[in-house]
């Protein structure tokens, strides 16, 4: 292990880091502008979205170059810009952003893949009447996702995280006229919310313990040594330290977003959205946000580990990841929807990433995240191209023989599929998956995850071969003949295919550039590490497993595939387990009879309470007030009004009497005056006498 280089002081944020906020801000502003546009302004909307993301890509590339330049001069860059959002009492709530290798890599990946998918969407969605709305949401998503990436504060990250969840909901339900899409959107929103509640609890707990939510802040951030020591010293329940408990809570949020078992159920249903959305959000970027989050808080997860040891949160991450990897791969074997196969494969690969993070650290997990983003986006866009070419058909049993009709799509899809399977040497998936297996071999806690992941690799190769066999080989089983997609769709495929191959070579054991870059030490070229016997055994195993999977798949599905009505080859062999897998191992049904049933029972209890108890109470109070009002009315009419009326009558009578004196005759007045004067004079006269 080489010595890591010290991070540069954070006071010296470069001008580039100062304007890093523009990367998420520009797409969000573009999204706002698009939202104000009318429906027919398709070209302007698309141009605005693509232009803003291109700007972000350029800025992200500049930031990446800056970080690489700093690193090659021997100083790993970590520049933060923090500011106080508001304060209450003596406590500041700070937000900020960070430019370090981790965020730089993610920025480039998200903007680049995003841009390709934006361009692809202009063609894929060309006939949709809500074209501008689509680009508005896409742009908002890109901005929010980039916000997650650059956030230096758990609070800012959480805000963008929720925004990303919102756009995911909006885009899954983009075709809200379809009941399935609307239901899938709701399901995705609610399921991820379960994880987010724990995430929020973790955030609040962390804030209560450390008083800051910044990751890095000149030694006082929550991911830096001082805060971690405090957290480790603080015991929580079940023998965990506060650091461990908070790590687990935040991991629950990550598991929700990244579709880890048992919160994976929303991700396959999310395929109801448009295919570019599946590619961008539910394969390449958003679902990777959970993995990125775990990588971001890795210091917290890893805190307290002895040399070569693991911590409780990392162990949990590993087991959940490894289990998800195998579990989802098993289900993927028996799916027939082209996108659902890919969706379960995504869940499975996310499990690999989590396991890689848990066992091998940030670099191992992140490397698989980056390579996966490219080849899975490629596969989804390829699937989109296939669906488009087959007139919106998604069932692989109604395709076949497309390699002749759609040659470009076939070649690029094959590249993506081989990368996903981990075909040796030439494909990126091989190197990143191998890194995870290698880390699993070194893991001190248990050997089982290694076996699980190897088995998962076998399944991956198998189900991808099955899918490709169904779609591209055999003979055409659809109705209308398929056609190749336009260039604006195939060119992004070609670019992604190039990266699906090329990216592998930045992270091979012989030249671990990517790992060195992320971990901040110098990268050396060392061909000998490639031929280390232990490593060779792992590589040989993985190669053997991949070839076994490919061979099995080809053996079973390479020939003429069955007609749509016929049972699958495996189904004919073992109908019962096949049925379990086809029905997704009944997780949805299990939730249906537990969680959903509980909630509907609880809702009916609440309904009963509302109607009978609270409703009765309210009605009783209303009745009492009505009676009281009647009483008041009676008193008013008969007592208060009576007295008032009588008084008025008396006044009126008195007035009438007095009015009679005023008869209008001047001389009468004069007479009265004269009598009065005489009377007055008489009184004066008589009273003045002694």
């Amino acid at each position: 292990m080489q010595e890591s280089i010290s991070f540069t002081p954070q006071m010296l944020a470069s001008p580039l880091a100062e304007i890093l906020w523009l990367i998420p801000a520009v797409p969000i502003v573009a999204s706002g502008l698009i939202a104000l546009m009318k429906q027919p302004k398709r070209k302007t909307a698309a141009a605005l979205a693509i232009g803003s993301l291109s700007f972000s890509l350029l800025l992200a590339l500049a930031a990446f170059g800056h970080v690489v330049a700093g690193w090659s001069h021997g100083a790993a860059v970590r520049e933060t810009v923090n500011f106080t959002w508001f304060q209450f009492g003596a406590t500041n709530v700070d937000l900020g952003w960070v430019l370090d290798p981790l965020s730089a890599v993610m920025l480039v990946m998200v903007t680049f893949v995003g841009l390709l998918i934006f361009i692809y969407s202009t063609s894929y969605m060309a006939h949709d009447e809500n074209f501008t709305r689509f680009f508005c949401f896409l742009s908002l998503f890109a901005g929010a996702m980039l916000g997650v990436v650059i956030a230096n504060s758990l609070l800012l990250l959480f805000m963008c995280w929720e925004l990303v969840g919102l756009t995911s909901y909006l885009l899954i339900g983009f075709w809200y006229q379809k009941p399935a899409a609307a239901a899938a959107a709701k399901k995705a929103f609610l399921t991820t919310r379960v994880g987010d509640v724990f995430f929020l609890l973790g955030i609040v707990w962390l804030f209560a313990q450390t008083g800051t939510l910044l990751f890095y802040n000149s030694g006082t951030g929550s991911m830096e040594a001082g805060a971690l020591t405090t957290l480790l010293a603080q015991p929580a329940a079940l023998g965990l330290s506060a650091a461990g408990a908070i790590g687990l809570l935040i991991f629950a949020g990550a598991a929700g977003k990244s579709g880890q078992f048992p919160l994976h159920v929303w991700l396959p249903d999310a395929m109801e959205g448009p295919t570019p959305v599946s590619a961008l959000i539910h394969a390449a970027t958003m679902v990777a946000a959970g993995v990125y989050l775990v990588a971001r808080i890795y210091p917290l997860m890893h805190a307290g580990a002895l040399a070569g040891g693991s911590t409780a949160p990392l162990t949990v991450v590993t087991w959940v990841g490894a289990f998800t990897a195998v579990f989802a791969a098993l289900i993927a074997v028996a799916q027939n929807d082209i996108k659902r196969i890919l969706a379960y494969s995504t869940v499975s690969q996310l499990g690999y990433m989590m396991a890689g993070l848990g066992m091998g650290g940030v670099a191992v997990g992140m490397f698989h995240l980056i390579t996966h983003a490219f080849f899975k986006a490629l596969l989804f866009l390829g699937a989109g191209s296939v669906i488009h070419g087959c007139h919106e058909e998604q069932d692989v049993r109604r395709m076949g023989g497309l390699r002749a009709d759609m040659p470009l799509t076939f070649v690029t899809y094959a590249v993506g599929m081989l990368a996903l399977c981990g075909f040796p040497i030439f494909f990126s998936g091989f190197w990143s998956k191998d890194g995870i297996l290698e880390a699993a071999r070194h893991w001190s806690v248990a050997r089982t995850p290694l076996y699980m992941l190897v088995f998962g690799a076998l399944l991956t190769a198998f189900y991808m071969t099955r899918q490709v066999g169904y779609v591209f080989f055999g003979h055409w089983r659809g109705h209308k003949p398929a056609h190749e997609s336009p260039a604006v769709m195939t060119i992004p495929l070609a670019i992604l295919a190039f990266f699906a191959i090329a990216l592998g070579f930045i992270g091979t054991p012989a030249w671990p550039w990517f790992h060195a870059f992320l971990e901040g030490h110098a990268a050396g070229f060392d061909i000998h590490s490639l031929v280390e016997p232990q490593l060779l055994i792992v590589m040989a195993t993985s190669i053997a497993v991949v070839f076994l999977g490919l061979w099995l798949g080809w053996r079973l599905y390479g020939g003429p595939a069955p007609r749509p009505g016929d049972p699958d080859v495996l189904e004919a062999v073992a109908p019962l387990p096949w049925g379990w897998l086809r029905d997704r191992l009944y997780v949805d049904e299990f939730y249906g009879i537990t969680v959903s049933a509980f909630y509907s029972w609880w809702a009916s209890v609440a309904d009963w309470l509302d109607r009978r108890v609270w409703g009765g109470l309210v009605a009783g109070v209303a009745w009492a007030f009505r009676q009281w009002a009647h009483l008041n009315r009676f008193l008013d009419m008969h007592w208060v009004d009576g007295a008032f009326d009588k008084g008025c009558e008396e006044l009126s009578t008195g007035g009438g009497l007095l009015a009679r004196v005023q008869n209008g005759r001047v001389q009468t007045y004069l007479r009265i005056l004269a009598f009065a004067v005489v009377a007055l004079a008489a009184i004066l006269f008589w009273s003045s006498r002694p």
């Binding site: 009015a659 005023q662 008869n663 209008g664 005759r665 001047v666 001389q667 004069l670 007479r671 004269a674």
Partner: protein, 103 residues
């Protein structure tokens, strides 16, 4: 009987005649004449009290009477103007007919 008492008796007689006229006549002009008589009875009293009072050398009573006569002249002009205006309005100067100002 002192001279002052004689003057006062004449003034009282004059006032009574004026008051009787003002109270009994129906014609507005005659009522005005009655009022003038009462006014002059008061003036006569002023002169008499001055002339037989403690300081006959100061011309206070005479001044007062002259003021009073001037004011009475103005008042008679206003009163006659009102009577003309009423006559134009109601075509009568009979006070019993002019009873519209009642409550």
């Amino acid at each position: 009987m002192t001279p002052l008492a004689g003057y006062l008796l004449v003034a009282a007689l004059l006032f009574s005649i004026g008051l009787a006229g003002a109270l009994t006549r129906r014609n507005a002009i005659l009522v005005l004449i009655g009022i003038e008589l009462m006014l002059n009875a008061a003036n006569l009293n002023l002169i008499a009290f001055w002339r037989y009072g403690p300081h006959p050398e100061a011309l206070t009573g005479m001044m007062f009477a002259i003021f009073s006569i001037a004011v009475a002249a103005a008042e008679a002009a206003v009163g006659l103007g009102l009577v003309i205006s009423i006559h134009r309005h109601a075509h009568t100067t009979d006070l019993d007919a002019l009873n519209r100002m009642k409550g």
